[in-house]
């Protein structure tokens, strides 16, 4: 007798284009104490399928069209709102992706835990609830829980906040936990800790867990059974070993192949005899926190970049890795003076960056460009693709008015976008397409050096692979030198010739990529590398 048995679940959404089936005939079952992994890219319906079970799909536009979900003998899909509430957070709990937005920022974490307890058990006294909350916090590894129980969510770090979320899910002693991308927003070392914690708790409480993720590596050694979803359908299911070793569906194969496992092909490797193109010496960038009526008082200083020196050779793709807050983005921005540095010397090609005046800096900018992380924020929503790409051409007088259209069309070809989309606005494109537009914008001025700040981390894994290959191809074709900033080590391994590891504003280690991955010298690098979730294949 399984704990949860979902049969032929169908959920649809009404959109302007008409009705679409977000979940199309999905069935699965789950026993007590088992972990089910649901893997898929954005829009695959993996979250909607689970939200449907708890009636959490907004309706309208969502609607459950059919199927059944028998949980402990009762069909969840047939229950009304009031009856469902007795299950939600009580017998079935959820852990969300972003603990910052799913915890109430104005409520102490203790009060949130107590609220969760008392809303399902009205007879529980405040004092008893607090004791329960305390033990839950201790169980998820919050040190001196007795003090921290009165803290607000923002006073915790990202990993600790996710622990609080887990405590909230656990505190009501549920039988089933639905974890929706619980580690996606976390750094890789923190992710490893949280995964371990989930695994331990699952075993000690004999919990059933549905683990929703886009990352096959994360569920590989946790789930007993894995569903691979695409466009609302389950395209493949089986044990991890089945999935990784003899998957049959082409999409699963594509998904596995999209995870970079190795270095780039030899033809894309750089020539180490080239001269240095970018030189940074003792760069220091500080941020001041100011207070006072006119922000005249400096209360504290953050050393985001603390004395960094490195050289990048011409034609090289140089990787800069580190966890959030390590200062890697600030360093990239300091190089091309999107952020002002306080000390050091920076040379890019013939430009001595820190010495340029305002006007000469603006002119020099055509030689170095940037590709940003979030393709949804890096394009002006009120400019068409044509306007976005024409702007740099006209600004730097690289094309006459009557040549612009042709140049823009050419850029579209280069990044693999169809010319006919030229008059569309950014919101009409998918994330991957938008990132292509952003790449085209950076290439428009024919730069020699590009800073790419996490350009693929907001993208689905199959799209990510396409964009990486596009970057490789373009870098070779235009002989670009690139600083590639990323938190994702496997991506860096695939793309970069050399890698620098950053921590707390300093460089820990610089090495040829393969050497660094095979024999990391510094303890921090070793820790970082060992935290990558791996797919074990024999």
């Amino acid at each position: 007798m399984s704990l949860l048995n979902v049969k032929n679940l169908r959920t649809s959404f009404y959109t302007r284009e008409g009705q679409t089936l977000a979940v199309d005939d999905v069935s699965f079952s789950l026993n007590k104490g088992e972990v089910l992994g649901i893997v898929g890219e954005s829009g695959s319906g993996k979250s909607v399928a689970c939200y449907s079970l708890l009636g959490l799909v907004p309706s309208p536009p969502g609607k459950i069209e059919g199927g059944s979900a028998i949980f402990d003998g009762k069909d969840l899909l047939k229950l009304n709102e009031k009856a469902l509430r007795a299950y939600r957070g009580n017998r079935i709990a959820m852990i969300f992706q972003d603990p910052m937005t799913s915890l109430n920022p104005f409520m102490r974490v203790g009060d949130q835990l107590i609220e969760a307890l008392r809303c399902h058990n009205k007879t529980l006294s405040k004092k008893a609830a607090k004791e329960k909350a305390l033990s839950a916090l201790e169980e998820v590894g919050i040190n001196n829980a007795r003090e921290r129980i009165d803290s607000y969510p923002h006073e915790f770090s990202g990993g600790m906040r996710q622990r609080v979320m887990i405590a909230m899910a656990l505190v009501t002693e549920p039988e089933l936990i639905i974890a929706d991308e619980p580690t996606t927003a976390l750094d890789v070392t923190v992710q490893k800790q949280i995964l371990q914690l989930l695994k331990d708790l699952q075993a000690s409480h004999d919990l059933a867990v549905i683990f929703i993720t886009h990352d096959l590596g994360v569920v590989a050694d946790m789930a007993k059974h894995i569903l691979v979803m695409k466009n609302g359908r389950v395209v493949e299911e089986g044990s991890p070993a089945d999935i990784f070793e003899n998957c049959s569906h082409p999409y699963t194969r594509k998904l596995i192949a999209a995870i970079p496992q190795s270095a780039k092909p030899d033809e894309f490797k750089y020539d180490s005899s080239h001269e240095d193109f970018v030189e940074a010496k003792n760069v220091v960038t500080h941020f001041n926190n100011t207070r006072g009526l006119f922000r005249q008082r400096i209360v504290s200083t953050v050393k985001a970049v603390d004395d960094i020196s490195l050289n990048i050779r011409e034609g090289e793709i140089f990787g800069l890795v580190g966890e959030s807050g390590s200062g890697k983005s600030t360093f990239g921005r300091s190089l091309i003076r999107l952020v002002e540095s306080q000390a050091g010397d920076i040379r890019i090609g013939k430009h001595r960056i820190r010495e340029l005046g305002n006007t000469s800096l603006r002119e020099a900018r055509r030689d170095f460009q940037m590709i940003f992380q979030d393709p949804y924020a890096s394009l002006n929503p009120r400019m068409t693709v044509f306007d976005t790409l024409a702007e740099p051409l006209l600004l730097h007088k690289l094309a006459k008015k009557n040549e612009v259209l042709e140049r823009v069309n050419h850029l579209m070809d280069e990044v693999g976008l169809e010319r006919k989309h030229i008059r569309k606005y950014p919101h009409e494109f998918s994330g991957g397409q938008r990132q292509r537009i952003a790449i085209a914008r950076a290439l428009a001025v024919e730069p020699r050096f590009i800073v790419a700040d996490e350009p693929v981390s907001a993208l689905d894994v199959t799209i990510q692979a396409q964009i990486l290959d596009l970057l490789l191809k373009l870098a070779k074709k235009h002989q670009l030198t690139m600083l590639f900033i990323s938190h994702d080590l496997s991506v860096v391994r695939y793309l970069c010739d050399r890698v620098a590891v950053m921590q707390h504003g300093k460089i820990v280690e610089i090495e040829e990529t393969e050497k660094l991955f095979l024999s990391p010298q510094q303890p921090y690098t070793q820790k970082l590398l060992s935290a990558i979730p791996r797919i074990h294949t024999n």
């Binding site: 302007r16 940003f372 009120r382 306007d387 600004l395």
Partner: protein
């Protein structure tokens, strides 16, 4: 076939944000209705000297206040002046006050807010403290002071109202700009080599147009009413000249005996207000490429 059309469209002349916006606006019936009503009111106001049935200073004390009739469609006021004529002449004053004072507020407010929000830090702090100080200054005293120094004139009235109304606009725009400034497309514009002025003009202001338009449509009616308050203080226009605000004020005083003196100017003002709001909402949606699909 549609492929071909799109292919052709690609080579048509580039569409700008405003061209696109007007194309979308034309499809919005409510906004077009608003625009039509406003146009009619504006045309009537412009043509007033030629179409007004009477002179605005012509009194007929024997007639006194009479309800609407064939000679006086909207009745007459206590001095026997034709209400329709006074409303028509009032439109000229009120619309001008609304337009000029709001433009002044718009110009100063948007620039001030954009600059403060974009530069941030100390520039922002100093500029916004100044706004706070002006906020704290009692409005009436400020206007009276201006009048004492510069004497009474229509131009001064416009400037005075505009100079007060821009404060809120500056705050709204600044708040929007602060949140936009951190977006990557602004950074991308810096990285491209655009000057600060170009960034504000091309990337920031178009993205705050929504709130600006909405606040503008709210400012125009409030400015029109503000004028009547100033007239009451003796700073604005004086009878026999009229404005919507002063007509409504007079109408309120005699509402129980002569309701038509309140009803007709009231309807005219409400109609203008509704039309402005419809047009404003329509413009906001039309200027956001994400709001409508086509």
């Amino acid at each position: 076939m549609s492929e071909l059309i799109q292919e052709l469209q690609q080579y048509e002349k580039g569409r700008s944000l405003w061209q696109d916006a007007f194309r979308r606006l034309r499809k919005n019936k409510l906004a077009m209705f608003g625009m039509a009503v406003l146009s009619i009111i504006v045309v009537l106001a412009l043509l007033t000297p030629w179409i007004a049935p009477y002179s605005y200073e012509q009194q007929d004390l024997y007639l006194g206040a009479t309800p609407p009739s064939a000679e006086h469609w909207f009745g007459t006021d206590v001095f026997g002046r034709d209400q329709l004529t006074r409303m028509l002449y009032g439109s000229r004053i009120s619309l001008m006050v609304g337009l000029v004072a709001t433009s002044v507020a718009l110009l100063i407010g948007v620039l001030w807010g954009t600059i403060a929000g974009f530069f941030g830090g100390r520039v922002d702090a100093i500029m916004m403290r100044l706004v706070d100080i002006l906020y704290a200054l009692p409005f009436a005293i400020f206007i009276i002071l201006l009048t004492v120094v510069f004497g009474r004139s229509m131009l001064l009235l416009f400037l005075a109202i505009g100079a007060v109304e821009w404060l809120t606009m500056a705050r709204i725009v600044r708040g929007q700009v602060v949140s936009l400034r951190r977006q990557e497309f602004i950074e991308a514009a810096v990285a491209m080599g655009l000057t600060r002025w170009q960034i504000m003009q091309k990337h920031l202001i178009p993205n705050v147009l929504g709130p600006i338009i909405i606040y503008t449509t709210l400012t125009i009616p409030s400015v029109i009413l503000l004028e009547s308050f100033l007239s009451f203080l003796g700073l604005g226009i004086q009878p026999p000249q009229s404005s919507w605000g002063s007509l409504i004020k007079a109408g309120v005083e005699t509402m129980e005996e002569y309701p038509w003196l309140l009803i007709y100017p009231g309807i005219l003002l409400s109609l203008t207000l509704f039309s402005l709001n419809f047009l404003g909402d329509g413009l906001r949606d039309a200027l956001d490429p994400r709001a409508s699909q086509d």
